[in-house]
């Protein structure tokens, strides 16, 4: 079980969090102006790396903040963790 160092609450068990997917996906700032291709890229085509990955975790049972967590999907080693909105 991962131990995620929440910048606000301190280190907490993975079970207190909800996984939120890739943190590196940028929502087009003007969706109406986005081409179908750009929009489907945003929706569907995400990297699934073996190795370092930036992902979102929601601290559901703690501070209720969305965190950006750097996690190695192979070793589960964690890198920087920050509040999505400081």
């Amino acid at each position: 079980m991962l131990l995620i160092p929440c910048p606000f609450c301190g280190a907490r068990d993975e079970t207190e969090f909800a996984y939120g997917g890739d943190a590196g996906v940028e929502r087009p700032t003007d969706p109406e102006a986005a081409t179908d291709e750009a929009w489907t890229d945003y929706l569907c085509f995400h990297d699934n790396p073996k190795g370092p990955h930036r992902e979102l975790w929601f601290h559901r049972d703690g501070c209720r903040r969305w965190l950006e967590v750097e996690r190695d999907t192979w070793t589960h080693e964690l890198g920087a963790v920050r509040l999505s909105r400081p």
């Binding site: 131990l3 109406e32 589960h76 999505s84």
Partner: protein, 982 residues
């Protein structure tokens, strides 16, 4: 006959001779002492055959001393109390203990299945795969039961286990796995440095190898030193000592499980087992080493035993594993064992050392000699010794004995290191697999790291303890590490085997050297494949004694270096953990939360039948005297539509939204516009996922300029909050909006039916309920039944309806007061079935229709979507896939045979010929409508709206059902909505 014929007159630091215990083994009464293990008790009683082997049913005795035991598998208790697959070495003796040897019927000493063993090579490697191949249909009925009866382990208990099992989660700066000299030294160093320490050991007493053989530490007895250190640790409030507790699993981020089996000496009321979860900053792995066997013909006979175990039984329990011993091995530890046995009263017939030289004058040494074969069929009667170098002309030497104590060297217990994804290295010269780079914050010390001398173990343990404490910021403690004059290295050649015959590598699974050879000849190259093909190392001992032997044999057979062959994966747990301990807290009372609304006690008292809605329970319907289920539900519907009904809607998700940008945010959150709402009014809203599918629906009420109250479905309370916070925190962080889940604060009940206005009018006399003053989709604060409430006028049933919300602690009062007030109106409480029936009659959607695949347009709600604006999901609605023709659309199905009942899971098809054909869609919801007097269904059907008027078929091929239905509007009842006004 003496009761304990093999108990020495004195000695045994683990037993209390003043407290004899009686126990039964295979129906025979024996006696042992408090402190004995079942294994030592059986040996003291002279019981040599303890179990039968897995495959050949060969008689087996005790081989080891602890969790490495491959042979002595027993079941304790009978029938419902049975605890199968225990190792006799790990079962503490207790008064009245009943135990049985496994794999044998009727008993281990007279076993019918043993005939399998007579037929030598009957079951070679891969036997099961080769024999039970085809036909496949014979597997469930024939092969599997046959294999299980022949080869199964102990019987499963016949009744639920009602013993109490416990779990505990703790944190530590340093977890020390193993309480031998290295572990205790590590714990002492770390604890003195101030670190929070957990020290766990599998035995009832700390000491590790010192339990099996004496040693000297700091110019005194080693075990005395351990006791003193343990007393010092016990006195420190930041140290926790766990006895009879094995560190079993090493998981991500230094979470380790420790399986504690209080057993034997445990105080009354202690749990049968406890599973500890320890989150440790750093871990010292001082798990020791396992003694390897020697391979010779008959090395599985009862009486052949690990040398250190034989010495250990004498030293720790005062038990003689035999009267006359041959000690054989390839390292110096055999001399220590020989002397221990001799001083306990065992005759030493010979000490055979495979290495030349090293002749010890006071022992009958056979330098350069080894065991070739065991004599005796059911137990050891003697051995045939031969020169280890195989010199020609050697006729060998027959020596009578009843105990063969063997040592093939030592394998460090690298399991935890490897579970933590640490890398392993093979030291060719020493013949050892050793921990290399650690995976995570841990360090191995002592025998687990390949240090076999007491002085080295102490020094390494101390150093590891200091370093482990430092990783949580604790400075080096004062004082010096303990010392010992013992610097014996016990270096051994890799491995020793002799001759042919039945040479067992894996005693538990009956895997022989020939099996490994055969696997190699049949083309197996990977050690993982050989493991599965031969079952080597797959028993409950997980190859603790056999792993190294198998690896060397395979490498030899393949003609490649051991380092290239590699090991199999070390997976947790290190030693079996009772399922009941893992399940503790996850079964029985309180396993899952059951959420109850404020009116739950009333529903229960009224005899409601409940249904699960997520974690909530909701009344499904209220049974009535003399009515079946459908009649009772229909009565609830009829009485509501004709008069007035009340339903508990306390489970709906509720969110308070405030902030300067609240209205702007809701325009982004919902597909329809919310910013145009006037204060005091509400609107039905659709939340989309970013991919354009309907995510959730509910009502948004504007309570003030910057203050809204919205509802979500019961199912999506938490997901909706998570979604809202994601948008506020990552997509539009510049918006000043505060969202608070207030589901738990509010209870709500809905009054529905033409009579609801009159009833509410009496309950809330200050409230003007006229259509003008309180129109549809308005919200008012009011006093209802004497309670401060929010009243919403909205409708799910299609009737005139009001939802009344009060703080949940007053929810039951609201409910009961309304029911009292409504007595004269014939107020009918109704459940989710009646609610569902009424919403189907009205064509309102729920998650059955908004199933995560449907768009607003699919559901006929396309007009709700505001054209402009960057709201969530709206851009996706423009994608070709969501606009194409042929999507499934929501329709109503009017069943031609009105009395028909539609079972769940029906498809909608074009023809009734029951031939395979792609369906047009499927039925999403169905009911018998008491209002219309016939069966109704909602369905998602390809191009459904354009098919209005067509006849299709509701089909369920599994039950050979097909019924004609007409596609109609999903709104079956009151399409004009006139009933909303009462």
């Amino acid at each position: 006959m003496r009761r304990q014929p093999f108990r020495a007159a004195e000695g045994g630091h683990l037993i209390d001779r003043t407290e004899p215990l009686r126990f039964d083994f295979d129906g025979h009464r024996h006696e042992g002492y408090r402190g004995d293990s079942l294994a030592s008790g059986l040996l003291a009683a002279g019981v040599r055959i303890v179990a039968r082997s897995f495959k050949y049913h060969r008689p087996r005795g005790v081989w080891g001393f602890g969790p490495e035991e491959p042979n002595a598998m027993v079941t304790t208790g009978v029938r419902e109390e049975a605890r199968p697959n225990l190792k006799a070495t790990e079962v503490p003796l207790s008064e009245g203990l009943e135990a049985f040897g496994q794999n044998a019927w009727p008993s281990v000493s007279w076993d019918l299945g043993g005939a399998a063993g007579l037929a030598g090579g009957l079951m070679p490697a891969g036997f099961y795969y080769k024999t039970f191949m085809a036909p496949a249909r014979w597997w469930p009925a024939l092969y599997e039961p046959l294999i299980r009866r022949m080869a199964g382990f102990g019987p499963a208990p016949s009744a639920p286990d009602d013993a109490f099992y416990a779990k505990r989660r703790i944190h530590a700066d340093v977890l020390v796995a193993g309480g031998g000299p290295a572990g205790v030294a590590a714990a002492l160093a770390a604890a003195r440095a101030g670190a929070r320490v957990v020290l766990a050991d599998e035995n009832v007493r700390f000491g590790g190898d010192l339990l099996r053989a004496p040693g000297e530490i700091d110019e005194g007895d080693g075990l005395d030193w351990i006791d003193t250190a343990v007393a010092e640790l016990e006195a420190m409030s930041h140290v926790r000592l766990l006895r009879r507790a094995t560190v079993a699993g090493y998981y991500d981020h230094n979470l380790l499980t420790v399986a504690e089996r209080p057993g034997g000496e445990a105080p009354a009321g202690a749990p049968a087992a406890r599973l500890w979860f320890v989150r440790a900053r750093d871990v010292v792995i001082a798990a020791g080493a396992h003694e390897r066997p020697l391979l010779f013909d008959g090395n599985d006979r009862p009486g052949v035993m690990s040398a250190s175990a034989a010495g250990g039984y004498a030293h720790a329990y005062g038990v003689l594993a035999g009267r006359n011993a041959v000690v054989a091995g390839n390292n110096d530890s055999i001399y220590r064992v020989a002397r221990l046995l001799r001083s306990a009263g065992v005759g030493i017939a010979a000490v055979a050392d495979t290495r030349s030289g090293g002749d010890i004058r006071d022992l009958p040494c056979r330098a350069g000699g080894t065991v070739e074969r065991v004599l005796g069929s059911r137990r050891v009667r003697g051995v045939l010794l031969r020169r280890a170098d195989g010199r020609a002309g050697d006729k060998g030497e027959r020596i009578a004995c009843d105990l063969v104590a063997v040592s093939g060297g030592w394998s460090p217990a690298v399991h935890l290191h490897a579970q933590a994804r640490g890398s392993l290295g093979y030291n060719e010269e020493r013949g050892l697999i050793l921990p290399d780079r650690p995976g995570g914050a841990n360090r191995s010390a002592g025998a687990a790291a390949g240090r076999f001398d007491l002085d080295g173990c102490l020094a390494e343990g101390w150093t590891a303890g200091v370093a482990a404490a430092a990783s949580s910021g604790h400075e080096r403690p004062a004082g010096e590490p303990p010392r010992s004059p013992d610097r014996s290295a016990w270096e051994a050649p890799v491995f020793w085997q002799t001759g042919g015959g039945k040479r067992f590598v894996d005693l538990q699974y009956d895997v022989t050297a020939a099996d490994v050879d055969l696997a190699a000849r049949e083309g197996y190259r990977s050690v993982e494949h050989v493991k599965r093909y031969t079952a080597l190392g797959m028993g409950t001992d997980q190859g603790k004694t056999s792993g190294m032997a198998g690896l060397v044999l395979l490498s030899e057979a393949l003609g490649r270096p051991v380092a290239r062959t590699g090991t199999t994966t070390f997976r947790p747990p290190y030693t079996p953990v009772p399922m009941a301990a893992m399940a503790s807290g996850l079964i029985g009372e309180g396993r899952d939360a059951l959420r109850r609304t404020a009116a739950d006690d009333w529903h229960e008292a009224r005899g409601a039948l409940f249904t699960a809605a997520g974690l909530w329970r909701r009344p499904r319907y209220y049974p009535r005297e003399g009515m079946d289920e459908e009649e009772a539900i229909s009565a609830e519907v009829r009485e509501t539509r004709a008069g007035v009904g009340i339903v508990d809607v306390g489970t709906l998700g509720k969110v308070d939204i405030q902030g300067r940008d609240a209205a702007a945010f809701l325009d982004l959150l919902y597909a329809n516009r919310m910013s145009s709402l006037k204060t005091g009014r509400g609107r039905y809203g659709l939340m989309l996922r970013e991919d354009g599918r309907v995510f959730d629906d509910g009502v948004v009420m504007r309570l003030g300029e910057n203050h809204f109250y919205l509802t979500t479905t019961t199912a999506h309370q938490h997901e909706a909050m998570q979604h809202i916070e994601l948008l506020l925190q990552t997509v539009w962080p510049e918006l000043e909006v505060y969202a608070t889940d207030v589901t738990e604060h509010w209870f709500a009940a809905a009054l529905a039916g033409p009579g609801s206005r009159a009833l509410l009018g009496r309950a809330a006399p200050e409230l003007d309920l006229s259509d003008d003053a309180f129109p549809m989709m308005a919200v008012r604060a009011a006093t209802v039944a004497g309670l401060s409430a929010l009243v919403f006028r909205m409708s799910f049933s299609g009737e005139l309806s009001y939802e009344i919300a009060v703080p949940a602690d007053q929810g039951l009062a609201l409910w009961t007061r309304l029911l009292t007030e409504g007595r004269e109106d014939g107020l009918t409480p109704y459940g989710t079935e009646a609610m569902g029936t009424m919403r189907i009659e009205k064509g309102h959607v729920t998650h059955a229709e908004a199933d995560g695949r449907t768009t607003p347009d699919d559901l006929g709600l396309g007009r709700m979507v505001r054209a402009e604006g960057p709201g969530i999901g709206k851009r996706s609605l423009e994608l070709p896939a969501l606009r194409r023709k042929g999507r499934q659309q929501l329709v109503g199905l009017s069943v031609i045979d009105g009395e028909a009942r539609i079972p769940p899971g029906c498809q909608v098809v074009e023809s009734d010929d029951m031939k395979p054909a792609p369906p047009l869609g499927h039925v999403t919801s169905f009911c018998y409508s008491p209002t219309l007097g016939r069966a109704l269904a909602l369905a998602l059907v390809e191009n459904g709206r354009a098919r209005t008027g067509q006849t299709v078929y509701i089909a369920s091929p599994m039950i050979d059902l097909s019924m004609a239905a007409e596609i109609v509007s999903p709104v079956f009842y009151d399409a004009q909505g006139t009933r909303l006004h009462g």
